[in-house]
Amino acid sequence: MALALSPLARRRCGSAALAVFLLSARLAATPPTEHEVKAAYLYNFLKFVEWPKQGNASATGPFCIAILGADPFGPVLDNTVAAKEVLGRRVTVRRVAEPKAAAGCHVVFVGRQQNVSTAGTLRLLEGTGALTVSDEPGFARRGGMVNFVLDEDSVGFEINPSAAAREGLTLSPRLLQLARIVPERAP
C-alpha cells in the first residue's frame, strides 16, 4: 500500500512515530485466512449481483448461500454472514450434497465432489438462477461463473460473464472491475 505523507505529517510524526503506528496496525489486524477471505467474498457477491425477479432464486426472504459438496469453510462462513443483512434481507448458509438441493439459493459454492464432474454439476445447476462459485482452477472457463484464484498472496477471482448472463444474472461492473474476465471454453 503506497502511502504518501505530507510534509506536515512527516514533521509532526517523525519516523519513529510512523514505525510505531504501522506496527500497531499490524498487531491490531491479524491477516485473515484464505477461507475467511473467501467466505467474505461469498457474502460480498450478494451485494454486487442482481438476480432476476422471476428467477428460481427467491426474490424475497433471506439470501441463501449453498455449499455444494465438501465445505472448506467450516464455521467461518456462518460467522461471516451471521447478523448481517444485504438489502435488508438476512443471509443463510445451506450445505447441500446435490445440486438440486441448492434450488432457491442465490449463490452455490461448488466444493470438491466425488464422482461428479464439474461440467455435470454445472449442467445440473443450469436454470437454478444461482451464481456459481468455485475455487477449482478453470471453473469459470468450463462454464462456471466465478472462480477463486490465488493471486500472489491475495485472493482474486475470475468471472465468466457469459455464464452469468445465461442464468439472467446481472453482475455489477464494479465487481467485474475487480475480477479477471475469462471467456468460456467449450467443454
Binding site: A2, A25, Y41, K47, G88, R174, Q177
Partner: protein, 805 residues
Amino acid sequence: MRFGNLSLRQKLVAVIMAATLPALLLAGGVIVTYQAAFARRTMATQLETLAEIVGANCTAALSFDKARTAEETLAALGSEPDVVAAVVYRQDGHLFASFARPGVSVEIPTRAPMIGTQLGPRRLSVTRPITLGAETLGTISLWASYERVAAQRRDFLRTAALVAVFALGVAFLLATRLQRLISAPVKRLVRTADAVTERQDYSLRAEPSGRDEIGRLVDSFNRMLAEIEKGAAALRHSEERYALAARAANDGLWAWDFTTGRLFLSPRWKEILGRGPDELPDAAESWFSHIHPDDAAEVQRQLGLHLEGRTTCFECEHRILHQDGTYRWVLNRGQAVFEDDGHAVRMAGSMADITGRKQAEERLVHDALHDALSGLPNRLLFRDRLEHVLGRNRRGMVSAYAVLYLDLDRFKIINDSLGHDAGDRLLAEIGLHLASIVRPGDTAARLGGDEFAVLLEDLDCQASAVSIARRVLNELTRSVRIAGEDVHTRPSIGIAFGDADTNAAEELIRSADLAMYAAKRKGTGVEVYDRGMHAEVVTKMRVEAELHTAVEQNQLFLCYQPIFSLRNGRLAGIETLMRWRHPERGVVSPAQFIPMLEETRLIVPVTRWLIAETVKSVHAWGRPKAGTRPLLVTINVSAISFLHSNLVEDIESAVRRAQLAPGSLGIELTESALMDDPEVAERQLAALRSMGVYTIIDDFGTGYSSLAYLSRLPFDKIKIDRSFVAGMGEQQDSLGIVRAIVALAHDLDKELVAEGVETQAQLHALTALGCEFAQGFLLGHPVPEAEARDLVAQHLAHPGELSWP
C-alpha cells in the same frame, strides 16, 4: 474649479457619471461576490457529486479489499482539474486508498475526517460516506483547490472591469449627448438672454421648446420679454411725451444730485440765459450766480423750506441774468426726493421764462389804471389817488387839496365834424398838454370822453387852486391844428375843494363836475363848487322823476295858439303848444321842462304823443271846404326827435290814419336841429315834404345857420324869433335884423311867421316889412282844445272875416 462654476453641460455629465459609477461598481461587486460564492458552492456541489460517484465506484474495491483498484478509480480524478487529493477510508477510519495530484503538496489525514463539506480558506474538502445499500463501507474525502475558481474570478473581474469601463464610456457618450436635451434649450435661452442684455433689444424671443419645465421657462421668459418690451415701449412713449411736453412747455429742466453736488442743466435752461448748450458747467453755481441779488435770498428761503419738507413743492419766481446783461423773469419749480430719514438726496425741476407774462402783467396793471389814448391815469387810478389823499386828510396829514374837473366846450361838434380819429388826437394832445401844465406831484387824469381831472395836493390856499385852474384855462384855450383844420378849443373847469367832511372821492369828483357845468353854463370858464350847485342838481333830478310820472299820468296837455295871415287878417294856422299840469305847482311852462325832456330823451315818446294828439284834434275839427287852403297846424319838434327818432314814420302813419289833407300839418324845427346833422336833416325834410307836411324854421336868427347851406334845404317857412319882434319897437337894430330876415326869406322864396307879437306897433311894422303871418298875445293866447275847436269852426263857417280882434 468649484462645481458651481461648471457649465450646465458639465454638471449634467458629472451628475450622470457620478450616478453611473457607483451603480456599476455596486452591480459589479455584487455580481463578482455572488459569482465567487456561487462558484464555490457549485464547486462544492460538484465535488460532493464526484465524491458520491467515486465513492460508489469504490464500493466493490472496499468490499473486496482491493485497494489497488480503489486507487485506480481514484486516479481517474486526475482528469478533474480542481481535485488535488482523494482518499478512501475504511469503515474503521483507516486510510484505504488515496490519490494526490502530482506536484501539489497536500496534507492528507491518515484518519477519516468528519463527514461534511469544508469550504476552507485555501481548499475545499468534501467527505462523504461510501455506502452500499444500507451498509456503510467507509468514507471518501476529496480536496479541491480554489485556483481555478480564483482564476475564473480573476477573468470575471477583468471582464467586469472591461465591461464597466466600456459601460462608463457609453454612459459618458450618452450623457454628453443626452444632456443636450436639457442643456441645449437652456443654452439657447441663455444665448437669447445674453443677446437681449447685450443689444438691449427686447423684441428678441427665445425659441420655444416643448411643454416641460424648460419649455414653460422659455414661455415665461418670452412673456417676460414681451412685458418688458411693452413696458419699455410705454416708457419710451412716455419719455417721448414728456420730452415733447417739456419742449412744448419750453421749460428749461434741471436735476440736482446732492450726493455729488452736480446740477444738470438742460440746453433749454441755458438757452433761457442766452447760453449755448456747452457754456455753463453742471454746477449749482451756474444757477445761483445768475440770480438777481434782490431775489437770491427768497430763492434760498424757498429752497430751504422745501428741503426741510415744509413745502410740498419748491416754487419761486425770480429774475435771472441773461447773457445780454438784462434780467429775465423765470418761474422755477422743483421737487426733491427724500430718503426715509427725511434728508433730500436729489431734486429736479423746471424753469420757465415768464418775462413776457411779467411784462404783460405789468402792462395789464398799467392799462387798467391808465387811459390808452392820452397815457394819463384813468378814473380808477385817479379815484385811488384821491382816496389816498382823503385817507391822509382824515388823519390830518395833508394841507388843502382840490379836484379840477374840466371838459372841452363843443367837443362833440369837433368830434362829429372832423371824425373820431381827429377827436381822439385832440384828446391825446389836450391830455399831454394838461399833464405838462400842472405842477409836479399833481395828478392829471382822463376820466372819459372829453372829461379830464386834476388832483391838486399841498395847496397853500384855495386861491392857488383857482390860479392853477386859470392857467389851465388859458393854456388850453387856443387853436389846435387837427386833420388840416384849425380847431378852437376851450375848456370849462370846475373846482371842488376837499375838506374834513369829504368822505368819498366820487363825491368830490361830482362836486367838481357840477362846478364845471356851472362854468360852462355861465360861460365863465372856471367855477368853484358851492352847495347851491348841488341843490340845482337835486332839483333837476326831482323834475326828471316828476316828468316820468307826468308822462305816465297824462299830466301833459296841449294848448293851441292861432296864427293869422297879415295880408287878410284871417286865421291861417294854429301852433300846438305843450303844457304840464303839475299836481303841486300848477301849470308849468315849456321852457322849464322841455330841456329836461330833451336831456332825458323823454322827448321822443312825448313827441310821438304830441303828434298823435294833434292829428286827432285836426281830424276832429273837420276838413276845410274844397278849394280853400287848409289851416296849418304846427308841432314843435326838438332836434333829438327830429334826428334820432322815427319821426317821419310816426307822422306818416298818423296822417294817413286821420286822412288829413296835405298842407294841414307842419313841424317847427330850430336851426340847431337842422345843423347838427345836415345830411339827415335834408333827408327828413324831403320825406316830410313829399307827405305834404310843412317845415318851419323856428327861432330863426338865434343859431349859427350857414345861409349857403340853409338855401339848399327844402323847408317852407321861417319863424322870426320873439326876441327880435320884441326889440322892434325900441331898438332899430332889431328892426334892421327883422328886415334883413324878411329880405333873406323872400330871397329864398320862403314865407315868414312872426311870433311874440304883443303890440299894434309890432304888428304894423311886420305888416309893413311884408311878413306873411303873425302870432302872439296881441292876436290870440294859447287856448285849450275846446276853444280852439270853436275858433276853427268859426273860421270855417265864416270865411272872409278878420279873425283877430
